[in-house]
């Protein structure tokens, strides 16, 4: 057999699905991202400094972890609105017990508490076939209430290693960023190389087909919600470690940024589309927009407006893509 040129192989890989892996619109989004980067470098002198870069990375970690969990739930055709409250649960719990248990055990307990909240979400949604929107809206309130029951005042533990998780730098890169990237790699592996992961992706596309194939749909969906809860709690722990203080009001409205990141990354609400790479792209885009607007000194209200506009544009792009199919 004659050896195939590298170009031909790349081309075959790119079109293996029967259509290009990234369409013109996706490429347009990426071009927009690059333009933002260049604009940042041009307008804000402080942008490409080492200090700002590691700052930017630290800032995206919180949303990055939540979005990753949100992606799993969105892939199954659901949505998890309780993530913001679970961030607070994880953060407050971590700060509350770190003095007694030490870093490792406190972190484990925090993540487990988030996974437990996810378990409740998942079981109620999958077992009773309720709308995830309503169920997680309700648990959002319940979990927030529990957080306030645990503490009404901000906690600042005295454990010497409390701030390590959020503040340590490994070379120029924050430790938390490495943790986040490791989570992305693990979730990518889960979704692409395990039966449960492939089932997760398939459920959003056609749940009945997956059920008829003899796959345990219920368990797969519950796992997605548990991962979402666990990742949100981890995000909360990292966040309070970075801030040095754990407020019970932490994480309010964080679900919006997470959903936005998934959508910008090509995820379809209702399931059936979405990828780990795309979500990472969405997280970075949102982080970049925030960072640039901060550097240029735009008021935070404007930031909200700009972010909202970007989200609508991204959703519009996805919709046009679907219509032209």
């Amino acid at each position: 057999m004659p050896a195939e040129g590298i170009e031909a192989r790349l081309k075959r890989w790119w079109f293996a699905g029967g259509e290009p892996r990234l369409g013109a619109l996706d490429l347009g989004l990426i071009a927009g991202f690059v333009t933002l980067l260049l604009a940042g470098a041009w307008f804000a002198e402080a942008f490409f400094t080492e200090r700002n870069m590691s700052n930017l990375m630290r800032q995206v970690v919180a949303n990055g972890l939540i979005s990753l969990g949100m992606l799993l739930v969105i892939l199954t055709g659901g949505i998890d609105l309780s993530v913001g409250s679970v961030v607070a649960l994880g953060g407050v719990l971590f700060a509350g017990i770190v003095d007694q248990l030490g870093i490792g055990a406190a972190l484990a307990v925090a993540i487990a508490s988030g996974a437990a909240a996810g378990l409740v979400n998942g079981v109620v949604v999958a077992r009773f076939k309720l709308q995830s929107f309503i169920v997680t809206l309700a648990t959002m309130g319940v979990v927030r209430g529990c957080v306030y029951l645990y503490t009404e005042i901000p906690l600042s533990p005295s454990h010497p290693g409390f701030r390590d998780l959020g503040a340590t730098l490994v070379g120029p890169v924050p430790l938390s960023m490495l943790v986040m990237l490791a989570c992305y790699a693990l979730v990518w592996f889960y979704l692409n190389r395990t039966p449960a992961g492939r089932a997760t992706v398939a459920i959003g596309g056609n749940e009945e087909a997956v059920r008829l194939a003899g796959v345990n749909v219920r368990r797969t969906v519950v796992v997605a919600y548990m991962l979402s809860g666990g990742l949100s709690a981890l995000s909360g722990a990292i966040l309070v470690s970075r801030l040095g203080i754990a407020q019970p009001s932490l994480g309010i409205a964080y679900e919006l940024d997470a959903i936005a990141a998934c959508v910008i990354g090509g995820a379809a609400l209702g399931g059936g589309a979405g990828s780990v790479g795309g979500t990472l792209f969405g997280v970075l885009t949102l982080g970049l927009i925030n960072n640039l607007l901060n550097l240029v000194g735009v008021k935070s209200f404007y930031q909200e407006i700009v972010k909202g506009t970007v989200i609508i544009l991204a959703v519009l792009l996805v919709a046009t893509k679907r219509m032209t199919k």
Binding site: E19, T194, A209
Partner: protein
């Protein structure tokens, strides 16, 4: 009024003469037909549903459109009614080019469609469904609905179309499938249309209602309505059609006069080749019993179903829509709630509570709705084909990619899926190839018993032939196969035994030698007793 042939009524002889002329000359010299569709093409994903189809039709004509499943009949009618847009081609009404961008526009132009699956709002009354959007109002500025007038009006409409006896105040959800169809027909005829499209209206109707339907169609023809009648039941065409247009694989084969066209000729036009060439030659050697049902029943859908399927046997299960044939298979597969009675698989009792239980016992089921519950369209061939056999393809909870790809590729080669690229998204495949992927999914489970529900629906003839060959091959290798189909040629051509269901009961059983189209149909429609009595 722009009627091509003057008068509103024509004697039977005159019409016959006219058609002779038209068919002989092949063109409508000097007159403008009511409807001219030319060069209509439509593509859905990887499937070319219609290829440059031309149809001309007159008012006061019953124009049948026939073709196999997937020939493009429904697409054509949906384009005419405005439900979908064609990619290319032109539609002229009374000679004037029209773009029918949505069903509302179609209705404004006088085009009405009776859908195969009634398009009704289940939680509204019959009255509201029929008058939807045009309810009579009363009071100042017409602020509230005049229910009395509305009910009376609908009552009159039902009488006019010849179907009384439906309570117009009842919610549609409480009606039977046949009554749904009747409401759907009444709704379409309520505003007198110029063109009425009926998509398989007879599928759920019993004999008595069918007679009434034909009477209605004849009356509408007298009123100069153009009726497109889509069906694959040849008997009906001979009963009412003036002309028959045959579609095959999205292309126009021709338009013929049924009075001068033999049944065999029509079938040949539809299928494109003599039937016997499609079905593989088989040498069945039934072995030991694989599956047996004893008195299986569930709720109102089926009762007392007992039959067996042996190794190497292909058993046909025929019945009209609503006869319970699909429900029986779904029950055996554990897709619905379990029923009463017993299922034995290779001598062992089985009570499947989920498809997982059935798959473990060696039963696989290809469902009738490939898009609805067979495929995940956004995923690749690899994912779709593996979905039911993850355990065999993974180790330590991780997919063994090399093993997975080897298994999937081997099946793709065996079934000749094109293109043989396992990364190809299911959405991008043609109907035939999609069906092969679904079949591959079930074959990869290594099942011994295969339940096939309409395995060749929406599949072109070439792929059909390949699927038949695969089924025969599987049987030859010892698999037990239950073949559910609403296509009689398929049942007659493939099955060693044929079971017939009607209204949830098993009513007939024929060996290959005994089975004929007439006997099976008579059993399924329940006319056997009637014809004996009369």
């Amino acid at each position: 009024m722009h009627l091509p042939f003057g008068g509103t009524k024509m004697s039977g002889n005159a019409r016959e003469g006219l058609h002779e002329t038209l068919l002989m000359s092949g063109v409508f010299l000097g007159v403008t037909a009511l409807l001219q569709m030319s060069g209509i093409s439509k593509r859905f994903g990887g499937t070319q549903a219609l290829r440059s189809v031309d149809i001309t039709a007159e008012s006061g004509e019953v124009h049948a459109i026939i073709g196999e499943n997937g020939a493009g009949k429904s697409t054509l009618s949906r384009i005419l009614s405005g439900a979908v847009q064609s990619d290319a081609g032109e539609i002229r009404l009374d000679g004037i080019p029209q773009t029918i961008t949505n069903p509302l526009r179609g209705q404004q132009l006088g085009i009405r469609m009776v859908h195969q699956h009634a398009n009704l709002v289940p939680n509204l009354s019959v009255t509201e469904n029929i008058l939807l959007g045009g309810m009579p109002t009363a009071g100042p500025f017409g602020w509230w609905i005049d229910w009395e007038t509305a009910h009376r009006r609908v009552q009159q409409i039902l009488e006019r179309v010849g179907f009384q006896g439906i309570d117009v105040r009842q919610r549609v959800a409480r009606l039977s499938p046949a009554q749904h169809q009747i409401v759907e027909i009444a709704k379409a005829v309520a505003v007198k249309p110029k063109i009425l499209i009926m998509d398989e209206p007879s599928a759920v109707l019993a004999q008595e209602d069918l007679t009434k339907l034909f009477a209605l169609i004849r009356r509408l023809r007298e009123e100069n309505v153009l009726i497109f009648y889509i069906s694959h039941r040849l008997d009906e065409l001979y009963a009412i059609a003036d002309r028959v247009t045959v579609l095959k694989d999205g292309s126009l084969v021709g338009t013929v006069d049924p009075r001068h066209t033999q049944r065999d000729e029509l079938i040949r036009l539809m299928v494109g080749r003599p039937l016997q060439d499609i079905f593989p030659r088989r040498d069945p050697k039934p072995g030991r019993e694989l599956l047996s049902l004893r008195g299986l029943g569930r709720g109102g859908s089926f009762k007392h179903i007992s039959f067996a399927v042996a190794e190497g046997e292909i058993v046909g299960l025929y019945g009209l829509v609503g006869s319970g044939r699909t429900e029986v298979a779904r029950c055996v597969f554990g897709a619905d709630r379990p029923g009463t009675g017993e299922i034995h698989v290779m001598g062992r009792p089985l009570r499947p509570r989920s498809p997982r239980d059935a798959l473990r016992a060696g039963i696989a089921m290809l469902t009738e709705d490939r898009i609805g519950d067979g495929l995940v369209l956004g995923l690749s061939i690899r994912d779709n084909a593996s979905l039911a056999s993850f355990p065999a393809m993974s180790r330590w909870g991780m997919l063994d990619r090399r093993r997975q790809d080897a298994l999937v590729k081997a099946k793709m080669r065996e079934l000749d899926v094109r293109p043989p690229v396992i990364e190809r998204l299911a959405r991008m495949l043609s109907g035939g190839n999609q069906q092969k992927v679904v079949l591959a999914k079930w074959l990869l489970t290594e099942a011994r018993i295969l339940l096939l529900d309409e395995p060749t629906r929406g599949v072109d003839v070439a792929a059909k032939k390949e699927i038949y060959a695969t089924i025969a091959d599987l049987a030859a290798r010892g698999m037990g196969i239950l073949l559910i189909s609403s296509e009689l040629p398929e049942i007659l051509g493939m099955c060693d035994r044929t079971l017939v269901m009607r209204e949830g009961r098993l009513v007939d059983e024929f060996t290959r030698a005994e089975a004929t189209e007439e006997k099976i149909l008579a059993g399924a429609a329940g006319v056997a007793e009637a014809s004996h009595a009369g």
